[in-house]
């Protein structure tokens, strides 16, 4: 005997036991590991999802929407200072903005980048360009670091103006101020490098001269600086109150020049922005980020130099708020989805542990009789349980931590740790160490009806709360409300209890019939079902929850899809839509001739027309539309093209119709109209309130030309999915910066499907359904395997009595089929009812963005497929039972039975 063999320790005995009949133990280990995996991954995925959602929401509002923008004017006394010092001003501004940023709280400071600012004067018109009379406007712009942003492609950088406005002199009027223009602006203004703009004198009053020393291009056109300061590159059309319109453009001066032309710059605005990063943020910070952003918006950024204090504009706070809302609702919805399978996992785990514990019963009883204390025996069982789950849990958690990078949160450790400790706790608790149940066992047995009643009452309470308060309000107030999240589980458990309690009654009735007609297997099967069911509460629970959760997930998924589809249709307003500044007739005809396009209706919007009627104060939008093709897309009354009695026939929005009361005529922009019909205000035509549709042929009556801005398209449903690219091509929207957007319903749907929150919901629902089926299969197999010994005894006796083996199959069928049928029915009812409860409690519009509240959509084919899947699972576990019992030898099972 080896030295190791001489060590007679408990560990050695445990090891020996561990290696005996390991199948059930391995199963428990697999279930425990899978559960730990879920518990470790799901919170991290939700965390990651929150980050993705925050990033998505921030990205969706664009660079300008994100950034914290502020503007203010220069200090009043700036120009009057004895010698306006540009360096001093720039340093004050820079340090003030820098301080403002460093004073920001975290996580806002992490998201906010270094401030960037420019000084820009209002447009200064000059009447001469290169000696010719022509009006152009220059917006003098100063930026200390402008040379880093631009590349001078022609000429040179502007020099510092040698004169000063403070000392008015002859020379100061005749010396031009050096400026540079963007190539784009110079081309539009038809100005070349070296040209002088302006006159030195006009009516005896000295004027300013500007010399264009060079032309520039952005060093990096993709630099957010150009987006944040949109006036810097292009020209802008100025429409003065009097006189002709003219073009203006930004012109950089040397920063030091600001101090020289201090009076000109006295009117300048400081445009400052802090860029806000959409990436690199943590979803868990969304809430704090939102409150900090809205604080910045309401109270501004505390600047060290109060002269520059400015109010801040940003849309980041709304984006963060949307992300927070969606996260909360998603977490609530996922908790709602996960609670039930988690309950089943626990039930399956209990089943598995019971199988293992049952196989250890003799050992424990013997050790107990030999004087093993409860502590020793339950301790040994706990160690066995811990060996099955803890090492695997540690590995899983390490992998999860390494694989999914999120900021460590306590829940990410506590949840898996709790799950990992469940098997040892269950092993210790369920271990049988005495022949008869002790006081605890008896008490538990007596308390079972009370506990069942409590579960049913809790289910009713949580259902009431869920419908009353709704998940959304609850989650925003307190995070994930546990009582609401467990509503489906409680309902499923209640259904399970009803099945377990009601089943014997059903079977007792069935037994009478079975005894008379169907022979021995039916008789014994029905007796067994009512007195010693193979599938106990845990098994029934697993089946009911499994069926209901997968049906629930399926129905919710189809509902969700329908919601997204309708939201996409609503946002498009037709099968496809094209938006552009102006759509030319040739473009419209190109679109109309595309294969797959059935009709295309152009819409032109004339905004802010006053209705000459006291009851309608707000201006309305007139939509000029090609009503003939539009009538194939929207239900329009006929006769919209024919004027009757000098009144233009129009269709009005429903809210406008209400405001009109009983009247059917109105005057809009001086044109008399007659209302021939109305459409819901939110018809996806453009504006959502107060609009009037008139046929495009009446454009002249409104003193305008019909230039459609929007094309609504009705398409061949089969070719619609392929229409995006041809439409873009026809409109030239595939070229960069075309300003034209093309959106088809399939594209809009796909875009929505790509949103992180939507992906999260869909993944959660699919996983929930798949997991439930898997758990059901496990629970059924465990139940049937656990009942193997009892079945072996019964079949042993029956075979000794001369029953042929094939009739034993009928017995197994009796064990499974009635319970399966009843639980499938109960699960189906519950699974179809739950979505209605959830849809009334959870506002899925937060995810889908549709206008109408979602009504559960039931797809019978899909539901039947799921139910068929369950039938296969039941049949398969019956097959497993058959295989197991087929191996059993009646002589051995009978002898085992005797012991």
């Amino acid at each position: 005997m080896t030295a190791g063999g001489n060590r007679w320790t408990a560990g050695r005995l445990l090891r020996r036991r561990f290696g005996t009949r390991p199948a059930a133990s391995i199963l428990v280990a697999v279930i425990a590991t899978a559960t730990v995996l879920g518990a470790a991954i799901i919170p991290r995925l939700i965390e990651q999802q929150a980050t993705a959602e925050l990033t998505f929401q921030l990205q969706s509002i664009g660079v300008i929407g994100r950034s914290l923008q502020g503007a203010s004017s220069l200090p009043e006394d700036w120009a009057a200072a004895p010698s306006p010092n540009a360096d001093q001003l720039f340093n004050d501004l820079q340090s003030s903005f820098d301080d403002g940023r460093s004073a920001m709280p975290q996580p806002l400071r992490r998201a906010v980048g270094a401030p960037s600012w420019i000084l820009q004067t209002p447009a200064v018109p000059s009447d001469q360009v290169g000696g010719a009379a022509r009006t152009v406007g220059l917006r003098l712009t100063a930026d200390r670091s402008y040379l880093k942003r631009i590349r001078i492609v022609q000429g040179t950088a502007p020099a510092v103006w040698s004169q000063s406005e403070s000392t008015q002199s002859e020379q100061s009027a005749t010396t031009p101020v050096d400026v540079i223009l963007s190539v784009q602006a110079a081309t539009r203004l038809k100005i070349t490098s070296g040209e002088v703009i302006g006159t030195d004198e006009e009516g005896g009053v000295p004027q300013r001269l500007y010399r264009v020393t060079g032309l520039f291009e952005p060093r990096d056109p993709g630099d957010d600086y150009w987006t944040e300061n949109p006036s810097l590159l292009p020209t802008t059309t100025m429409v003065p109150e009097h006189g002709a319109t003219y073009l203006t453009a930004a012109a950089y001066v040397d920063p030091q020049t600001v101090g020289r032309i201090a009076y000109t710059f006295a009117d300048a605005r400081i445009s400052m922005y802090y860029p806000v990063s959409a990436t690199g943020l943590d979803g868990a910070d969304a809430g704090r980020l939102q409150s900090e952003l809205s604080a910045v918006k309401t109270t501004g950024i505390p600047l060290s130099d109060s002269r520059f204090s400015m109010s801040i504009v940003t849309r980041s706070d709304q984006a963060a708020q949307t992300a927070v809302d969606r996260d909360a609702l998603l977490a609530g919805l996922l908790a709602l989805l996960a609670a039930a399978p988690l309950g089943v996992v626990l039930a399956v785990l209990v089943l598995g542990v019971q199988v293992v514990v049952r196989s250890r019963r003799t050992d424990l009883l013997l050790a107990s009789a030999r004087g093993g204390s409860e502590l020793q025996l339950r301790g040994a069982m706990a160690i066995e349980g811990a060996l099955l789950s803890v090492p695997a849990a540690i590995v899983v958690m390490v992998i999860a931590t390494l694989a999914i990078h999120v900021r460590p949160e306590p829940i990410g450790v506590i949840l898996p740790a709790l799950v990992a400790l469940a098997p040892p706790a269950l092993f210790a608790a369920l271990a049988v160490t005495r022949e008869r149940p002790g006081v605890i066992g008896r008490t538990l047995g007596a308390l079972r009806p009370v506990a069942e009643m409590a579960v049913v009452l809790l289910a009713a309470l949580s259902l009431f709360l869920l419908v009353r308060r709704g998940l959304a309000q609850a989650t925003i107030a307190v995070g994930v409300d546990p009582l609401l999240s467990v509503a489906p589980l409680l309902l499923a458990v209640s259904a399970g209890i009803i099945v377990v309690r009601g089943f014997p009654l059903l079977m007792r009735t069935a037994r009478g019939a079975a005894a008379r007609s169907r022979g021995l297997p039916a008789f014994i099967g029905s007796i067994q079902l009512s007195r010693a069911p193979t599938i106990g509460l845990a098994g029934v629970l697993a089946l009911v929850v499994g069926v209901s959760v997968s049906l629930f997930s399926t129905v919710l998924l189809t509902t969700f899809d329908a919601g997204i589809q309708s939201a996409a249709s609503e946002s498009v307003g037709a099968d496809a839509r094209i938006d552009a500044a102006a759509i030319t007739p040739s473009q419209e005809s190109a679109v109309g001739h595309l294969g797959g396009v059935r009709d295309a209706a152009g819409l032109d919007y004339l905004s802010s027309l006053a209705v000459e009627q006291a009851s309608i104060a707000d201006p309305v939008t007139l939509i000029l539309a090609e009503t003939r093709p539009l009538s194939t897309i929207r239900a329009l009354p006929s006769g919209l093209t024919t004027e009757v009695g000098g009144r233009v026939p129009v269709v009005v929005s429903s809210d406008l119709l209400r405001a009109l009361g009983a009247r059917r005529t109105l005057t809009l922009g001086g044109v008399k109209l007659r209302v021939t019909g109305s459409l819901p205000a939110e018809s996806g035509l453009g504006p959502t309130v107060d609009w009037v549709i008139a046929d495009s042929s009446f454009a002249k009556r409104f003193s305008t030309a019909f230039t459609p801005e929007t094309l609504l398209i009705r398409a061949d449903p089969e070719r619609l999915p392929l229409l995006q690219a041809p439409l873009e091509h026809a409109m030239g929207a595939d070229k960069p910066n075309s300003g034209t957007t093309v959106l088809t319903v399939p594209t809009a749907t796909a875009e929505r499907h790509d949103e992180p929150a939507v992906r999260g919901v869909v993944t959660g629902l699919i996983l929930g359904a798949a997991l439930s089926v898997l758990l059901c299969a496990t629970a059924l197999v465990l139940s049937t395997v656990a009942a193997g010994a009892a079945r072996g005894r019964t079949s042993g006796i029956l075979r000794t009595l001369g029953m042929p083996r094939r009739r034993l199959r009928t017995l197994i069928a009796w064990e499974l089929v009635p319970v399966a049928v009843v639980t499938l029915v109960a699960g189906t009812v519950l699974g179809i009812a739950l979505p209605f409860v959830v849809a009334s409690a959870v506002d899925l519009r937060v995810f889908t963005g549709s206008l109408a509240r979602a009504v559960p959509v039931i797809d019978p084919v899909l539901l039947l497929a799921v139910l068929a899947g369950f039938a296969v699972v039941v049949a398969a576990s019956g097959l497993v039972a058959l295989l197991v019992s087929g191996r059993a030898n009646p002589s051995s099972t009978l002898k085992m039975g005797a012991s």
């Binding site: 005997m1 001489n6 060590r7 007679w8 320790t9 408990a10 050695r12 005995l13 020996r16 036991r17 290696g19 005996t20 003799t362 050992d363 013997l366 050790a367 107990s368 009789a369 030999r370 004087g371 093993g372 204390s373 020793q376 022949e435 012991s899």
Partner: protein
């Protein structure tokens, strides 16, 4: 001499779903230290109930039971565990209940030692000692399934003896064995009883067992009815004779059980007449008027 096992008016009632079964109905039993006693009785006579009570696995409903100074009715949780570990050892009829099938003979013994926190260094020596004592040293590393019934029971005895119990209890230890193996196992009990001085109580329905023990107690309907004492006497010719004397058991309040064949022969029913003479008590049937006719 004090009694190691002392049962007085022992009652055990099992009740389940309203039906009460009185398995022991005021049993009296005294076993002296170092005695080898057999308790025999028909199936359902209550002998197995007695054994589970004595082994500390069950608690009597009423009466008094003391084993090696432990009051079996008043024992607390800790004392009960200690009692099972060190005071009693037992062997059941079914070998599967005595030995764990996946442990070798030596490991099965070590289980008892581990449970009782036997000092680690001494475990190996103790295991070897026990295996040698029962003559199964060469079977040390075999699993129970690789042993014959007799070998299994001898290993089971070794396990039961592991923690040097005062009392060895055996429930039908030869029930599943053939004659030769039974003989061997019973001899092992006798050897332990004589060699170690351990008090041994064997419960059996096999009347043959009583031939191997000095004292046989018969249980009938949950009470001790008769006792057979065996002794060896040397007659005047110097020849040894085995003498077995059967006694009826008289309890403290004067109850005794009359043998069934006596009752049948005299057709005694319901009431009997007792008479006291100088040396003995007579029990006579009551003659009714009908009988007189």
């Amino acid at each position: 001499m004090t009694a190691t096992i002392e049962c007085h008016e022992l009652v055990r009632i099992f009740s389940s779903t309203g039906v009460e079964v009185q398995a022991l109905q005021g049993l009296d039993l005294l076993v002296e230290k170092g005695e080898l006693t057999a308790v025999v009785g028909a199936s359902g006579s209550g002998k197995s109930t007695l054994l589970t009570i004595l082994s500390g696995l069950d608690i009597p409903s009423a009466g008094r039971a003391r084993v090696a100074g432990h009051d079996l009715l008043a024992m607390g949780h800790r004392e009960r565990i200690e009692y099972r570990r060190r005071t009693v050892g037992f062997i059941w009829q079914q070998t599967v209940r005595n030995l764990l099938p996946y442990l070798t003979a030596a490991e099965n013994i070590s289980l008892a030692l581990v449970v009782a926190n036997w000092p680690r260094r001494e475990r190996d020596a103790r295991i070897s000692e026990l295996l040698a004592l029962l003559g199964v040293s060469e079977l040390r590393d075999r699993l129970p399934g690789q042993l014959s019934g007799g070998q299994q029971q001898r290993v089971a005895i070794a396990v039961a003896l592991a923690n040097r119990p005062d009392v060895l209890l055996a429930d039908e230890p030869t029930g599943e064995l053939d004659e030769a193996n039974s003989e061997m196992v019973l001899e092992a009990f006798r050897a332990i009883n004589e060699g170690l001085g351990t008090t041994v109580l064997i419960v059996t329905h096999d009347a043959g067992v009583s031939e191997h023990v000095r004292r046989t107690v018969q249980i009938r309907d949950g009470r001790t009815s008769t006792e057979v004492l065996r002794s060896t006497r040397t007659d005047s010719a110097g020849l040894e004779h085995e003498v077995a004397e059967e006694f009826a058991v008289l309890d403290r309040v004067g109850r005794l059980q009359l043998p069934l064949d006596y009752i049948a022969k005299l057709d005694m029913r319901d009431r009997v007449r007792l008479g006291l003479t100088e040396e003995h008590v007579t029990v006579s049937p009551v003659r009714t008027e009908k009988d007189d006719e």
